[in-house]
Symmetry: C2
Subunit: 426 residues, 2 copies
């Protein structure tokens, strides 16, 4: 179960790793203090890119899937974290209503839903599945690849509460990103805990808020460790409210890409990194587009590809221009990037997303990608203080867990900043 992991790590990342291992008590205390002031996302998954010379999060998913790709050995950690989360949110909880993505009926996704149900059942809740699919009007069983079965039930809204027939949950857990907006049935549920909150949905969320929060945190965190924040932060530029049908809109994106890449070039020079910088452009908010444009030279910027990334037919859109962070991890010659999972403030596992046909500077979350659980030799995911940095997977995972958690604190800041019901003191 231990992935055969070939890393091509050079100087700086080892220094970074060394620094994190040495600063473990300071780092853990820093997180504890952050979590005193801020509420962690109920769960999240963070995509990391490990370039050898830097390690950075590139995506933070607040409705994570693929729980089935976490190794079974780590499941007790997820259960324990879920217990801690429930205890904090609603210790009297009996029933949890899980609402999966109605649009995804792939076996992979159903196995992930099954795993989530298992985690919360073991944590001590009666878990049932409600579906947003209006076509399901009676309890419907779906068979899983492992022979198990999931039972989807139609939602039942009664005034301020949402439940199922004979099932009144105190907590509702969403596992659908609400990209198409918030369904009526989920609105105005003030009597129950709705997790994550509706403004974490993709119809509302903006990656610009997230990476702004992450930038702020990376600076604070880097200060704590006495290091350059760039080593853990992907530079980015904002293109808000641009019209890609106009040349001026495309030009605005090009200008941001130029600025991002100029900064990367300076940093590469500063650190003596012989790499060709690149940038990626993606929709900052949900606009129907899912493609990601990789730019090696801003002059090459293809307006059509950009419109595709932003979503066909979209009017004004917001785009995130992000520093391209190559990934230099390899598994059996295929390019790999780590994905770290958290429940509440705890790292509960992770996996490598591996793509045999993609390059180190390409996006791996594409058809053809595979998932290899991050499992560990005896010793679990614990860093071993005596080990040479970079020498052991456990050491590496501590660093991944730190950056994953940093992104999860950023998500917490993001959700606070965008909370439509936040009280304003002033």
């Amino acid at each position: 179960m231990v992935p055969h992991l070939v890393t091509a790590l050079t100087g700086p990342i080892n220094e970074l790793e060394q620094r994190m291992l040495e600063s473990m008590p300071a780092i853990e205390r820093w997180f504890r203090l952050e979590w005193m002031e801020h509420t962690p996302p109920f769960y999240c998954a963070v995509d990391l890119r490990n370039a050898g010379f830097k390690l950075a999060p590139v995506d933070t998913e607040l409705f994570p899937r693929r729980f089935n790709n976490l190794t079974l050995e780590m499941l007790p950690l997820a259960v324990q974290a879920a217990m801690a989360a429930i205890e904090k949110i609603c210790p009297e909880a009996k029933n949890l209503l899980l609402i999966p993505d109605p649009a995804d009926r792939s076996p992979f996704y159903l196995l992930s839903v099954q795993r989530l149900m298992q985690i919360f059942h073991q944590a001590g809740l009666n878990v049932r599945l409600g579906t947003l699919d209006p076509a399901i009007k009676a309890p419907t069983a779906v068979t899983l690849p492992d022979g198990g079965e999931l039972r989807f039930e139609p939602l039942k809204r009664q005034r301020g509460r949402l439940g199922l027939k004979d099932f009144d949950p105190c907590t509702i857990l969403l596992n659908t990103d609400l990209a198409d907006g918030v369904p009526q049935v989920l609105q105005g549920l003030y009597e129950q805990y709705l997790l994550p909150p509706l403004h974490a949905g993709w119809s509302v969320r903006s990656m610009l808020h997230h990476f702004q929060a992450y930038e702020e945190l990376a600076k604070k965190f880097a200060k704590l460790l006495g290091m350059d924040p760039w080593l853990i932060h992907p530079g980015y530029g904002r293109c808000e409210n641009v019209d890609l049908a106009q040349a001026a809109g495309v030009e605005a994106v090009r200008a941001q890409a130029d600025a991002v890449m100029a900064k990367v070039r300076r940093k590469y020079k500063e650190y003596g990194i012989r790499e060709r910088p690149f940038a990626v452009v993606k929709a900052a908010t949900f606009s129907g587009g899912k493609a990601i444009v990789t730019l090696r030279d801003p002059k090459e910027l293809d307006a059509a590809a950009l419109r595709d990334a932003a979503g066909a037919g979209a009017g004004r859109v917001s785009l995130l221009v992000q520093e391209g962070v190559p990934t230099y991890e390899r598994m059996n010659d295929a390019v790999a990037e780590p994905v770290v999972y958290m429940i509440d403030r705890y790292v509960v596992g992770g996996f490598y997303r591996v793509h045999a046909e993609r390059g180190a500077d390409e996006v791996l979350s594409a058809p053809g990608s595979k998932y290899v659980p991050l499992a560990f030799a005896p010793g679990g995911q614990l860093p071993r203080p005596g080990d040479k940095p970079g020498a052991s997977a456990p050491n590496r995972f501590y660093m991944y867990g730190v950056i994953g958690r940093l992104a999860s604190v950023a998500a917490s800041y993001e959700l606070e900043a965008t909370d439509p019901e936040a009280e304003v003191y002033g």
Copy 2:
């Protein structure tokens, strides 16, 4: 790493296990509500006896050793639990002072101390070892069997605070049971968190308080599950303040043993158990005695052995007369009993105490006992709802974890009841 575990389970324990698995959400909620009202012991280890027809705790250690016998795969669980515990007690914590038992320098114990340091280091604290040994006047390194090293430092008391040279901890963790009383240096530390509290020490603690609290809890818990509390509770009798030098004192013990065994006989009859009842007599408070007297017939009661159990030269003593619970678990033909470890409110692992030369009705914590980590096939210690009860180790461990936690709630009640600084409302 999975112990080859041969159990000789008959009807009732399977029913009990089945009931616990089915009632998991209710059980977990019950624990959550208990922990809302009561503070869990910082850590504890509970010895269980699995008789097939019943499962009961027979000892609850509030300064647990043998952390090195927990399987490494489960260490992340211990770290996560430690993180949760620290966050609750003192989120700003930087430094933890660990005070081990000065009388134990065995390699086994030192490895356990090393493991404890590792757990709390990974949880994000600077951990250093202070010693109560007055002979150690300067930092002293001790080499471990694995080549590692522990560094013991002399304690430094400054007015209300205890620390080491250049080390001011906010939390002090005791791993010595204080059987010889509370050293001056530990008294009056009101500015720091001292865990466990001093009244958990063996010079103060009484098993009678513990089992009284456990009896109360076993009744509540059995009511929740609609079952006979005897199935999870070892019957007991109290002999307080008896003088074993007098015939009347010995007679008082015999009377309690008679009463305990008469009850066991009735229960055995009720459940159709063809076993010969027995009782064990042990010191309820620390009195220098460590032996345990096993009684198959109260008439056989040996006053000399009893005095040995109570401690040579003791004056008036308190004894616990406990229902003997045979253990019917076997590992490679040797008698085994499970020991469950908790940190804060979480089960973090366990092992089997195995003794090749002892019988099912004998005490296994004796010279010659061995320790086999409770490790698990993929799936961790998670019960699998679909599995036939008794068919899989994971299912068994859930039940062990439930009874272990029940004893830890009892320890919490016990410590509240005996807290010398508790506020009295009235």
